[in-house]
Symmetry: C2
Amino acid sequence: MEAAGVPGERGREGGIGENDAAEAAGPDERGCPSHPLPAYGSDFLQLDADAVPVGGKTEWLARLLRRAIADGRLGLGSRLPPTRLLAAELGVSRGVVTEAYRLLTEDGHIAGHRRGGTVVVAAPPAPTSTQPSRPSGAHPSPAKGGPPTPPSLFDGEPGPDVYDVLRTSPAAIDLTPGRPDLTAFPRTAWLRAERAVLAELSAEHLGYGDPRGAPPLRHAVADWLAHSRGFRVEPEEVLIVAGTAQALSLLSPVLRAEGVDAVAVEDPGSLGTRQHLLHGGLATPPVPVDQEGIRVEALRSTGAPAVLLTPAHQYPTGVVTSGGRRRELLRWAAEDGGLILEDDYDAEHRYDRPPVSALRALLTYRVCYMGSVSKLLAPALRTGWMVPPPRYRERLIEAKRFTDLGNAALPQLVLARLMESGGLERHLRMLRRRHRSRRDAMIGALAERLPGAVVHGAAAGLHLTVTYEAEVPDRALAAAALARGVKCHPLSWYRQLPGRPGLVLGYAAVPPGVAAEGVAVLGEALRALGTTS
Amino acid sequence: MEAAGVPGERGREGGIGENDAAEAAGPDERGCPSHPLPAYGSDFLQLDADAVPVGGKTEWLARLLRRAIADGRLGLGSRLPPTRLLAAELGVSRGVVTEAYRLLTEDGHIAGHRRGGTVVVAAPPAPTSTQPSRPSGAHPSPAKGGPPTPPSLFDGEPGPDVYDVLRTSPAAIDLTPGRPDLTAFPRTAWLRAERAVLAELSAEHLGYGDPRGAPPLRHAVADWLAHSRGFRVEPEEVLIVAGTAQALSLLSPVLRAEGVDAVAVEDPGSLGTRQHLLHGGLATPPVPVDQEGIRVEALRSTGAPAVLLTPAHQYPTGVVTSGGRRRELLRWAAEDGGLILEDDYDAEHRYDRPPVSALRALLTYRVCYMGSVSKLLAPALRTGWMVPPPRYRERLIEAKRFTDLGNAALPQLVLARLMESGGLERHLRMLRRRHRSRRDAMIGALAERLPGAVVHGAAAGLHLTVTYEAEVPDRALAAAALARGVKCHPLSWYRQLPGRPGLVLGYAAVPPGVAAEGVAVLGEALRALGTTS
């Protein structure tokens, strides 16, 4: 009954959805009968007896049979050869064939019937090669080389996958911001640290771990914060997360549960973090940034109970929040009970003098501190940390547990070792020197190739923000640049409020010569558009 | 004004919450004046001029000053020594002191006033040593050694942190299930693969990556599934995630958005996955499991639109879903439009014969397949994969992006190499041999020490489920065992429906002798409770 029932019912699957219908119909389309027909011997296996392996005959035969069924060489309802016959043809013992049939019967592929022999009752899907319809899926990774950029990339508001699309768009020169010099990644030091970690590792470290993060890394981060960010916390207060992106996705529901419906953001400010807040169900009212940092009276007037800040080096303008503005922020936090989400994303990258300490150093209970190694080592490490206000800690730990049971252990232990051995500090000093010279080279190129442009935030970071006077929309400029083989971000991606057009240009990850070349292309593109507009 | 304003307002912070009040009051409690007082020279720094470093004087002095303010040695409102005086006492140039003061002014710690000199206007928090109140936080990781288990561990329904609490409870013998032999982790092969990966790695692999996972790993997983799980998919169809826990947390909102409000679960069945579904806002109606697998008519009668299954080796009973039951499930999926979440958690650990192929091999559009390396290599790697029905793919990719922007790249590339080099296959063969002998040893010990007990699911996996007739509740037994230094799971943790008491005992991660010892302790505990009850 089942043998007849299953194919029949699969034929009815059209009702579930076209895909299923197509899948069910597949074998027939491939010209295979959906009513029983005898299969003759092992021809359908398309092999000769010489191909039979010495060991694992049963698995081998079962795999061949599954493939034959998947391919449609053995269509739904078709009959398998008698075990004795197939065994003889393949020169294997009959037991091998019987066992292989038993495996497929257990799989549910075939069913035995006293009179009808053994029949195919359900086919595994043939390998599909579906192309996802949306951009994020439609753009394979750089490793596979990307298709041409869709014209839509710089039209309208950027979607959540805009960075994926841009990243996988082919271009000769990549001036997108946010990456340190990745060729400088300390491979040797990392491998040495990993060897040491693996040598000392106890089995328990390889089991399910502490959702808060590996204790050695929480210790190392606490030391790091005390030494380079100006505040001291207990390792117990540190939560290891998969970067600031995850920190925000963990925070959003916790904040919403507290009645927080909006997190004010700097304008201009990071598009990525804003998208994360929006995805988390939080409004992101914009607050203008001036030469001293975010305008606190404007923040107050939004009525937002929380704000996301990059105080050490505002992203993307590079403004360092002034002491007076910091005190205004603290007053806002204290008097209005406001919450500050401090994204300390690249404070360590200062060229002129030591970085200012974190806001968290001034107020424990109103600041949720977030940092990561994305700008210190590599974004691909997906490792960061939070120091939340105590009242949020337990809920964030629970959110982290349910998100992924905690970060992977090995990279945490390796990173802890790099931090405590001073290896990370050394790497950072080297990076600063290199980034500084790359910054200077780009500033020089900008002066030469984009004379009208104003450069912002040169004192720190991995990128420059450039504004220009021309009547050329920056998305058109970025699109024209990409068409000429240069990737960069239009400043308007960072804006919710109207403002001058501009570009955000990363210099850290590209050699000076290449950056200069890229800037030259930007100049050409701007002139070309300026004359046509 | 600000100088006076800030301390005053901090004094009012009591209104925000005791913590803030305590923080603000801190300095006073430490006997520091909250009204301006002159500080005399550098005494408050508690150092002599010999301590002055040769380089980095400014940073060094700023750090000392911050610490003095944090400690309360320089209380709110107290005045810093004139730069000239401090410079002289420390034997540094006056510029060093001026610059250090400027840094603290920018931090917002101090403010200069023509007449009043330079005054402390905001103190960084002194290092706190708060102990979180809830268990998950209250139990430090094994590395720090755990406090005694709270009596509550085995009372009432287990909470989300029950595994953390149990893991960090001290015990001589750990028979908790779910871990392979972690001492066997292929450290050398892993390090060799990592060296090769780091040698070939291009900078772009260290940047922000594909949220779907590194292409090499998606290829390797597709090959692995075709070779050992009986179905073939395109790498494009594979989504790399941080284990099954994350797979479920990504799926839950997608399912809810489709109107799925419940996911039926096997009973007995995994507590962890059930907790994840509940946390994801999904009901988990229980469906009994018999000798052939889940009872499909009972599944149908729950009316649940989806079910979470472990078909290859039911967790924890070890039942292998029969071919007939598989076809019933497919009919349910086809006729009722049901969705099957297939948790293929340890199919590769069969001792008697090759594993049955995955349900996904039979139906593409109604099965969301999930696998991981937690049982193949180590849970601490937090690496797994999903092959979702095509219609969910894009939404899951977006959910993954917003959760963490994708798994970390290095471990993905290392794992891909291990899979493609055959290293993982070799490791697995070795594990199977070792696990098999450990299983046999535990079965022997059970026969000898728990004569009444019935052993389930010995044909595969990393654990045994044992049921017994005695009138002893299994949580009481597990608690008594833990008190005697043996960790295991009570079977009732896995049940929503009434059923016989039992224990779930992991044998893979402990040497045979230790397991036998543990079983002996269980026997004593059972007899002791049996006589007292």
